[in-house]
């Protein structure tokens, strides 16, 4: 049993060490906590890879290539973002102790969410993670509205967790346990599924859709990203999505596949709603964080629309899109960390006016990531768009192709408004000197993008077998 949870246990050990450092080390800086997190994360991910198929409790906790892939990606994105977050805390001269503590706790939960093959375990991890996110949101001290936002998030998260719990209780009442395998067997063997179990399944899935910020359950995400501090907004945009995606796919394929036909139409509606709400919302947005939060909702819609049939191809194409989108968003958030004027980070669109004239390299990187998000060749985003649209055409969902491409044009218009502001408007303020670490991260990200673009096999090789593992 120990070996099953060893990566999570190692990560958990980071927490008391951090507490001890806080107590006994007088000069604990953000770098200290980042260094601690870094080594524990590294050790944990190495163990995840070494023990990729070791699971003594396969009925409730699965360790496989599929879960290891997602865990590794979660660690990779967390590592990069924690590095940038530590630079943020250093410049802001604020304590990062709680941020890294909550971040590590959240990572443990995300690991469990990825591997969970039992609804109770999944629910527990989701609930604890929601609490961590709640406290992470509250890390912002200079904004009164943050309490409203955090409480609203907590309220809705609690509501959807209760909804999920109710759905799970219905299955538990019937089966006596909540293992994926047993629920799957029950749904698979029943020729005529009673309505009650369909409702129960819908309750569970709606909870997952809420955490994934799929429209119409996306409302919490926009304000959370807008009002929380940048390290938290970036973390919530980049990291949990991977775990939720992995858990959602595993849940549909391993549990609800026999009744998936009942949910396909609602999922299409949610996906289309996400696409258009995201695209239309982004077009009217003046705050850059909210604009990209709308962009995230749009991208979630794109991923969901690709997933619709839950075939091996659709899973692979949506995964490629997710990865490409996250790489671009990582670049975008890295750029945000460089846009600072008189010690204050700028997030209003009008404040971005003419940045290209003042910070040419940063603006150029920003532009490249924006073009990638539009999905225009030759940028990496094209790979994601190609993968999704090709899959939809293969499955003869031509009307979905039309809807997706129409929303893409709308979304591209929103990004072009940003490009126009950054490049063609006159600057209205001066910008501070940029931290070298931001340049390093951007350069590395761009090198990765270029390599992936020239040789997408580096990006995609091995991942093609990923769907085989989930089924």
């Amino acid at each position: 049993m120990l070996i099953t949870f060893l990566p999570e246990i190692i990560l958990f050990c980071c927490l008391p060490v951090m507490v001890l450092v806080r107590i006994f080390r007088t000069s604990a800086t953000p770098k200290t906590y980042f260094t601690l997190s870094k080594y524990f994360m590294l050790f944990s991910v190495l163990l995840s890879i070494i023990l990729y198929n070791k699971s003594e409790l396969p009925e409730i906790y699965d360790n496989s290539r599929y879960t290891t892939l997602f865990k590794s990606l979660v660690f990779l994105f967390s590592f990069v973002w924690f590095f940038l977050a530590y630079r943020w805390f250093l410049h802001e001269e604020r304590s990062s102790f709680r941020y890294f503590m909550l971040g590590i706790c959240s990572l443990i939960c995300l690991n469990v969410i990825i591997s969970a093959h039992n609804f109770a375990l999944l629910w527990g991890a989701l609930a604890i993670n929601a609490v961590m996110v709640y406290f992470l949101i509250l890390r912002r001290l200079d904004e009164e509205r943050i309490f409203v936002v955090a409480h609203r998030y907590a309220g809705f998260a609690a509501f959807f967790l209760v909804l999920m719990a109710a759905g799970m209780a219905i299955f538990y009442h019937r089966l006596g346990n909540l293992n994926y395998r047993d629920v799957f067997s029950f749904l698979h063997q029943s020729t005529d599924i009673p309505q009650l179990y369909l409702y129960a399944s819908a309750m569970i899935l709606s909870g997952m859709l809420f955490f994934m910020a799929v429209a119409p359950f996306h409302f919490w995400f926009l304000d959370v990203v807008r009002y929380s501090i940048l390290p938290v907004g970036g973390y919530l945009t980049l990291v949990p999505g991977l775990a939720y995606f992995a858990a959602f796919c595993a849940m549909i394929v391993n549990v609800f596949f026999p009744i998936y036909g009942h949910f396909q139409q609602p999922l299409i509606i949610f996906a289309v709603a996400s696409l258009f709400l995201g695209a239309v919302g982004a077009n009217g947005e003046k705050n850059i964080l909210r604009l990209f939060a709308y962009g995230s909702v749009f991208n979630i819609g794109f991923i969901l629309i690709s997933l619709i049939t839950f075939s091996a191809d659709s899973l692979f194409s949506s995964f490629v899109y997710l990865l490409v989108y996250l790489m671009s968003m990582l670049g975008i958030y890295t750029v945000f960390l460089g846009f600072k004027s008189q010690g204050r980070y700028v997030f209003e669109l009008r404040e971005f006016a003419g940045i290209a004239k003042l910070k040419a390299y940063l603006a150029a990187a920003f532009l490249m990531f924006l073009v990638s998000l539009i999905g225009s060749p030759p940028m990496l985003g094209f790979l994601g768009k190609l993968s999704v649209i090709n899959n939809l055409v293969l499955e003869h969902h031509f009307y979905l192709v039309a809807v997706t491409l129409l929303s893409l044009i709308l979304m591209a218009n929103a990004y072009l408004i940003v490009v126009k502001t950054v490049y063609f408007d006159s600057p209205i303020m001066n910008f501070d000197r940029i931290d070298k670490s931001i340049y390093i991260c951007l350069t590395l990200n761009l090198i990765l993008v270029v390599i992936s673009l020239v040789q997408p096999r580096f990006l995609m090789s091995g991942f093609e077998r990923m769907p085989i593992r989930v089924f």
């Binding site: 073009v371 060749p377 293969l394």
Partner: protein
Amino acid sequence: MSSNFYLLSVIITLPFLGMLFVLSAKNDEKTGGRNVYNVSLFTVIANIVLILRLFSRLDVKSSALQLVERFTWLENPRIDIVLGVDVFSALLLLSIHIAFIIGFIAVRHNRIQQKSMMVFALLFLSQLTGFLVAADIFSFYIFFEAMLFPVFMLIGIFGDIRRQGIMYRFFLYNFLGAVVLFLATIILYNYQNGAVEISKVASLSFNGKIEHFMWASILISFLSRIPVWPFHFWISSVSSSIKNPLVFIIVNLIPLTGIYGLIRFLPQTFPASAAFYITALEIIGVVTMLFIALIGFINRDTQYKFFSYITVYYIMYMLGLLSKNNLIMLNVGFSFFSYLIIVAGLEFVSSYIRSQQEKLELGTEGLLCPVPRLAFVYSFLVLAAIGLPVSSLFLNNFLIISSLLGNNFSLGITVVCALVLSSGALLGDLYRLKDNSAFCPEKGCIMDISKPYFFFMAFIIFVLIASFIRPLWFLGM
């Protein structure tokens, strides 16, 4: 160079590498943008040398794609990037590069955003080159869409006060066209279970709705680049808002991509269901042509007259292609060679005149009288532009008009009217500029072009005349 040398890849990559060098070059007040300019010019000249080398390896008598290079880009879905070239695309490559050189020389003394201009110009050149040597539908689409971005940036940087609206118009029309082509590409790809070479698209047969959808998508995507109603709004706005000669030349190369797409994709025999659309397209095309030629004739703005001339000719090429006359298809390549150089040359000279005129606050009447070198170059280019026998354009006009008159007399006559109007517009402008009676030396005179510029333009004139005498003169054919 060894036989397996990736010449086409190098020709695409070189402007891109040049762009990277330009990015790293200094562009401060001390250097006055010289570094940036020299690197850009050297890149294009180096590419011209490579293109000439490419010609020496081409079998010019063969219409098949040659020097084919194939790279596997993606495993799943399997996508191979195939590059290849024939005489037609090689001629276009050469003329585009010469047009770029002319554009670069025209912005020699530009001090505004020189670095940005050169970066995006070289990026565009790289992508346009890739587009012209793309031999499979995926690489064709990739370059087709990718070239929009540098143009968007150039319009944003060098457009006038109306640029915001113009940029969105440009984006809306062209991005929509690219999206439609993307869809057609994906369907073609899946329909054929793998990458399809462009040369085979024309001979593919589809069934029912797919056939309608495919051809409608392909036509719309290419028409979005050609200034035909209702797709012409973006290009007329852009052309009238751009005063920078290099950017003007670049923007007016966009319709070329639409015409080139039509040449590559149009089926050898139109499906019966397409007959109505072709007729509708011919009517729309000819009405747009006449309308724009008329506006160009009435308008006194030289820039708009050029736009009118360029549009009329692009539509004429399109109508010629729709007539499915093989002789015309062959001739279009030779004709484009002169046409692109003439357009770039005219823009170079007119931007020079405009800048001098604005500097001295002079009217246009008699402006060319005291400047013999400029007057000679401008007069020659105008005469070549209207199709007099001084360039390969003459033969093209002759062939297209005779073919159109033979196929559909009323259509042919309308085209002739439009051509006469656009030629009249250019000649009227030339007459005004050379009107001795209106010349007043007391008001001041513009400066003639310098001797190096004149010799350069004389060389361009020599190239045009040579293209009239023997289209493949540089190959000794």
